[in-house]
Amino acid sequence: MNFAAFLAELVSFIPRAVVQGIPLLYGSTGETLTEKSGNLNLGIPGVMYVGGISGVVGAFLYDQAVRGRATVDGVLDPQLYDRLLNPFLSIAIPMLSCLLGALLMGLIYCFLTVSLRANQNVTGLALTTFGVGVGNFLGGSLIKLSGSDVPSIALTKISIFFHQPLPFAANLGWFGSLFLSYGFMAYLAVAIALLVSYFLRRTRAGLHLRSVGENPATADAAGINVARYKYAATCVGSMIAGLGGLYYVMDYASGVWSNNAFGDRGWLAIALVIFTIWRPSVGVGASFLFGGLYILHMYIPTGTMLAVKELYKMAPYVVTLIVLILSSLRNKRENQPPQHLGLPYFREER
C-alpha cells in the first residue's frame, strides 16, 4: 500500500472512528459526572439503551402523526409527508423523549441508592438488565405496530435532520470530511464534555460535587446538601448518557432501530471513564480512540481467520486494563477514583 492510499484510508477511517466514539463520549461524560458524586452507576448501558428507545418512541409517534396528516384517501403522499415534517419538531420530540426516559432511569437509581441506600452495584446491574428489557420490549412493540417485515424499525426521514453534516463539508475535501461531516449531536457531545470538565474544575458547584464524591461526611459538615448533589449529578449524568443512545440510533444508525444492535457500547463507556481517569476533557480524544479500536478489526486484513478479528475486538478493554494498571502503579491520588465511590452515605451512622 503506498502512502497516498494510506492517507486516503486514514481519512475514511477517522470519521468512522469518531462516529463510533460519540455515543461512548456521551456515556462516559454522563458517568463521570455521576461518579464524581460518589454514585457508581453501572446502569449506564441500560440508561443509554432506554435513552435510545425513548427517542425512537418519540420519533415514531411524531412520524405516525405526520403520516396520518399526509395520507390522502388512504394513500400516503410522500411529497406532502416531506413538506409536513417540521425540522425543529423532528429534532426536539425525539430529544425530549430521550431525555425524559434517561431522567426516569436516573431517578430510579437515585431513589434506590441515595434515598433507600440500596447497594449501588446491585442496583446498577439491575438497572442495566431492566433498561435493555424495556428497550427490547418497546422496540419489539413498535416493530409489530409498524407492521414491518424486517425485525427493525426505520425512521429514515426524521433521522436526516440528525445526521445533516455542516455546510461546505462536501466541498472542503479531507478537511471537510474530518471535521465537518458529522451531525450536530457529535459537536454537542464535545461541547458537553468540555462544559462538564470546566464545571468540575472551575466552579463552586463542581468543587462541592467533587467533595461529595470524595468525602460526603466532610461535605455535609461544610453545609453541602449531599443527597441533592447526588441526585442532581446522577440525573443529569443519566440524561447526558441517554443522548448517547439517541445519537447512536438517530445519527449513526440513520434512524433504524433493531433490538440489541446497540451492543456493548454502554460497558465501553464505563471503561472509558476509567481510561480517562475521570476527566471528561480527556474523554473527547479518548472516545475517538476507543471508537477507532472498536472498528479496528474491520480495517485490518485478517483473511479467513475470524478468531483473530475477535482478538482485535478486545482492544478497547485491553487498553483500559493497561491504563488501570498504570494509574495504580503511579499511585497518584489525583488519578484515583473518587474515594467514596460506590458507598452509601448516612449522616447519623456511627
Binding site: R210, D220, R333
Partner: protein, 512 residues
C-alpha cells in the same frame, strides 16, 4: 461574676440514639473571651452535645440561644452562619483538594481561589499559623491538617470555636503551639470550647470547666479554683485515685530481643530502620513517637503480621532458649504467648468485627479450640461475661454488636480479650486512645497487673505524661529509627518531645 450575655446558652437539651440516652436535660452557658473545657467520661455525651451546636445532630428537646436570641440549628450551614465552628476529632477534609479548596468548601458565591488564598494568608499571619494554601491535604502532617481545620472556621468568621480532642494527635511542641493560638483567639474575644481527656491540658489552658456524666450536666467550676482530683471525682461520680502505680520490675529477664529490624513499605520506603532493643519480662516498655513513625510496623513485625526485610526477632524462654519469630505465621506466634491489641484510629478496624456481638468477637480468638466440629459457644460467652464484669463495659447485653458500643467500651472489649488469653508478651498500641480518664486508669491498672505477673508489656502510647508515669523504660521512635531509650523514672517530657522530632533529640532547640 457578671460576664454579660452568654455567647451560647443551651437549655434542657436532650438527645437519644435508639436505646441510648446520649444527652439528658443539659443546661450550659458558653461565654466570649473564655476557654471552656468540657470534661466527661467516654459516652458521657460531650461530642453529641457539641454536634448539636454545630448542626450535625438535631436535639430531641430543649432550646439553644446565641447571644440571648433563640435559634434553630438545623444544619451545619446554619451553625456556620451563626458563627459556630467545630473542629472535629476526625478531620473533615477532602484529601485530594488543596487547603484553599477545602476552606472554600460549602461557601456561596463565585469561586475565586486567588482571592481565597490571599485571605487565608492574612488570617495565618494574624494568628501565626504556618500553612501553604496551595498544598494538597494528603501531603500534610496531622498538625498541618488541624491548622487547616481551624483556618476553615476562622475564614467563615466563626467566633464560637469548638475543638473536639484537638491534642490527641499532636506532639507536645505542636500542642504548645496550638494552645498559644487558642489563647490569642480568646484574647481576641472569641468563645472557645475544648473537649479533652488530658487533665494537665485542662488545667493549663482553660478558664472554666464544665463536667458531664452519663449524658447529664454535673456542673461547672473555675479552673483556677479546682484540682485534677476534684474534676475527676465529679466526672466519675465517686472518688478515684489518680496515681498510676509503677512497681519495680521483679526479676526481669530478656523476653523479646529485636536486632537490626528493617521493614520497608510497599513502595520501598523504609518504615523501620535497623531497630534493636530488648523487652524484658515483668516490665512495661513504653514506645513514644509521632503517629506513623513505625510503631504499627514494629508491633506487627513482632506479631508476625508484617513482612520484614532484614533483622531478627528472638523470643527468649525463661531458661534462655531462643526462638526466631520471623518466618513464623501469626497463629504460631500467638500460641507462643504473644498477644497483640492494636487500637487503630477508627478503633474497630483491627481486632474486632463491628457487626458481631461480644460473644462472637471473643470467639475470634477461641474458635479453633475444642474437638467437636461445631464451635464452642460457652467459652467465649464466659470470657465476654468476665471482660464485661471486670472492666465495667457499658453494654445493653452480650449480644449487642460491638459497633453500637461507645469507643471506650469497644477498646475495653479488645484489650480485655487479649489479656484473658494469658499472654507472655502483651503488645498494645493506643490502648487508651480517646478513652476517658477513669477507663484509662483501669487499663493502666490491667497492664500493671500483667506486668506483675511477669508479662513483658510493650505499650505504644500518645500521651507522654502517661508514658512517663507508667513505663519502666521509654523507647522513642523517630521516622522509623530508634531515637533513644530512656529510663521512665528520670526522663522528662521535653527530652522525649525533642527526640520524637529529631533522632537523638537535642542539637538545635526549636521554638517550644
Amino acid at each position: 461574676m457578671d460576664r454579660g450575655t452568654p455567647a451560647v446558652s443551651l437549655r434542657n437539651i436532650s438527645k437519644r440514639f435508639g436505646q441510648v440516652q446520649a444527652n439528658s436535660h443539659i443546661d450550659l452557658d458558653i461565654y466570649r473571651g473564655e476557654i471552656l473545657a468540657l470534661l466527661g467520661e467516654n459516652g458521657s455525651g460531650k461530642t453529641t452535645l457539641m454536634n448539636m451546636l454545630s448542626g450535625i445532630y438535631f436535639p430531641d428537646e430543649g432550646t439553644i440561644a446565641i447571644d440571648g436570641r433563640k435559634v434553630m440549628i438545623d444544619s451545619p450551614r446554619t451553625a456556620i452562619e451563626l458563627g459556630i465552628g467545630m473542629i472535629h476529632q476526625h478531620f473533615k477534609l477532602v484529601d485530594v483538594l488543596t487547603a484553599a479548596e477545602n476552606i472554600e468548601l460549602g461557601l456561596k458565591g463565585k469561586l475565586n481561589l486567588q482571592q481565597a488564598t490571599r485571605k487565608i494568608r492574612e488570617i495565618s499571619d494574624a494568628y501565626g499559623f504556618d500553612v501553604d494554601p496551595q498544598q494538597k491535604i494528603y501531603d500534610m502532617s496531622v498538625s498541618q491538617k488541624q491548622t487547616v481545620e481551624i483556618l476553615k472556621v476562622l475564614y467563615r468568621g466563626a467566633d464560637i470555636l469548638i475543638l473536639d480532642e484537638p491534642t490527641a494527635v499532636l506532639t507536645p511542641q505542636e500542642t504548645e503551639k496550638l494552645f498559644r493560638v487558642l489563647r490569642n483567639m480568646r484574647d481576641d474575644g472569641k468563645a472557645i470550647v475544648i473537649i479533652t481527656h488530658k487533665m494537665h491540658e485542662v488545667l493549663s489552658l482553660s478558664d472554666r470547666v464544665a463536667v458531664l456524666r452519663r449524658g447529664e450536666y454535673v456542673g461547672d467550676m473555675i479552673t483556677a479554683e479546682t484540682t485534677a482530683q476534684d474534676m475527676t471525682n465529679r466526672m466519675v461520680g465517686h472518688s478515684v485515685t489518680l496515681n498510676i502505680e509503677r512497681p519495680e520490675p521483679v526479676d526481669p529477664k530478656p523476653r523479646i530481643k529485636v536486632s537490626g529490624l528493617t521493614v520497608l513499605s510497599d513502595t520501598g520506603v523504609p518504615k523501620l530502620e535497623n531497630v534493636s532493643f530488648t523487652a524484658y519480662s515483668g516490665e512495661i516498655l513504653g514506645i513514644a513517637g509521632i503517629a506513623g513513625s513505625g510503631q504499627k510496623e514494629l508491633l506487627e513485625a513482632i506479631a508476625g503480621l508484617q513482612a520484614v526485610s532484614a533483622g531478627s526477632i528472638a523470643y527468649i524462654e525463661d531458661d534462655g532458649a531462643c526462638e526466631e519469630l520471623i518466618g513464623k505465621d501469626p497463629l504460631e506466634i500467638q500460641h507462643m504467648g504473644v498477644a497483640l491489641s492494636f487500637v487503630p484510629e477508627d478503633r474497630l478496624g483491627m481486632g474486632l468485627v463491628g457487626s458481631m456481638d461480644l460473644d462472637e468477637n471473643m470467639m475470634l480468638r477461641t474458635y479453633r479450640s475444642g474437638a467437636l466440629p461445631v464451635t464452642d459457644r460457652k467459652l467465649p460467652h464466659q470470657i465476654a461475661q468476665k471482660v464485661v464484669d471486670e472492666l465495667e463495659v457499658a453494654t445493653p447485653s452480650l449480644h449487642t454488636p460491638v459497633r453500637n458500643l461507645s469507643g471506650g467500651n469497644v477498646q475495653k472489649v479488645l484489650v480485655g480479650r487479649e489479656i484473658t488469653s494469658a499472654p507472655k508478651v502483651l503488645l498494645t498500641a493506643y490502648a487508651v486512645r480517646g478513652l476517658d480518664i477513669n477507663s484509662s486508669y483501669m487499663i493502666y491498672d490491667l497492664l500493671n497487673q500483667q506486668k506483675k505477673k511477669g508479662v513483658a508489656v510493650v505499650y505504644v502510647g500518645e500521651d507522654l505524661d502517661v508514658l512517663l508515669e507508667l513505663a519502666d523504660r521509654i523507647l522513642v521512635l523517630c521516622g522509623g529509627k530508634i531515637s533513644g531509650i530512656l529510663p521512665g523514672r528520670s526522663a522528662t517530657k521535653d527530652e522525649i518531645g525533642l527526640m520524637m522530632t529529631r533522632v537523638g533529640g537535642g542539637a538545635e532547640k526549636n521554638d517550644a
